[in-house]
Subunit: 203 residues, 2 copies
């Protein structure tokens, strides 16, 4: 597409590299920005350009942070008895909305032989070191990994590694998502929902 | 959402302001960028920050350009007999794919009383000046505006203004889009397709 000015095409190419944004959406976004105030676009560019350099990984949970220890890890009000292991930083954002008030540990992904990711590519060793260090106050490790084949395999692997610590090791419940239709649920979800059926509590 | 570092949240907010990108997609995009090489993210930011300042409006067609006259207007190979009037720069990108090889004029929008856009907010005067200037070589003006109420009203208005020039004034055909199902077409499209029916050419 040589008809667009090089500087516009260059920004379109950058947007089109983002996940879920095709060349057409990228063009639309860039032409939208062209209609905005130059000052605003410049600010967007500056914030974006400084993105990776303005954050570090928290030395405790390995989530993105603007200080050596992130706000969650340095918060006094959170329970030190639970440690929730997640694959990615975005999972923390989702889980925080539930009101969970323990600590987190970001593993950096899940075991995936197809993509060449084994335990050594993840922060398994760092997790074991953290659990060793905090063994006295820790009571439970919650493996909050995706309910996928790779997530399950990672959970099983971590369970083996964490067994010697004699802690309560749990994972998130599988079952019907709230608001879903039972008739549209896939058979594996239904099977897990039956396997994990719970007593109805008396009012 | 105070749990994210300020610099990350600031970039998410910027992305979330773009059309069609909600806060969740914005988070996903920013966390994707965090996983990329800092050098690449910095480059994206710089290109984006310089976007509006590195382009000007072409003095001939008022499309975005990196020179006072854009590549299309300064191209020797294009026909000077046709002038295609479009609402926005993105329309030029779409029309260029069809192989059209005349010239363009970007009107800057369509007449929309609801949004307070009258002929004076558009480049109607500049269009008339251009047509006056190029009257000798011009043969046809194609009004390539959206087939919406506002697009039609703008086309009618321009037709009136352009009438004194005694040129062929056309607009894009309305009808069934290629690959569509007749039974799903709305009644207005069908009516237009019947009104504009064409003789089948003999092979």
């Amino acid at each position: 597409m040589s008809i667009l000015p090089k500087s516009i095409q260059a920004v379109i190419d950058q947007f089109a590299r983002l996940p879920g944004i095709g060349p057409k959406s990228a063009s639309r976004l860039v032409f939208y920005l062209l209609s905005k105030h130059p000052q605003d676009v410049r600010q967007f560019g500056e914030l974006l350009g400084n993105l990776t350099e303005s954050v570090v990984l928290c030395s405790e949970c390995y989530n993105w942070s603007d200080a050596p220890r992130c706000t969650l890890c340095s918060s006094e009000g959170r329970s030190t008895h639970e440690l929730m292991v997640v694959a990615d930083p975005l999972d923390v954002v989702a889980l925080e909305r539930t009101g969970y008030d323990g600590h987190y540990f970001v593993l950096g992904g899940v075991i995936s032989p197809v993509h060449g990711i084994g335990p050594d590519e993840l922060r398994v060793r760092l997790l074991l070191e953290k659990v060793t260090r905090e063994n006295a106050q820790l009571k439970e490790i919650i493996l909050a990994l995706d309910p996928s084949l790779e997530g399950e395999a990672t959970a099983l692997y971590l369970m083996e590694q964490l067994e010697p610590f004699k802690l309560r090791i749990t994972r998130l419940a599988r079952g019907l998502p709230i608001g879903s239709d039972l008739e549209y649920a896939d058979e594996l979800t239904l099977k897990r929902a039956i396997d994990g059926r719970q007593m109805i509590e008396k009012i």
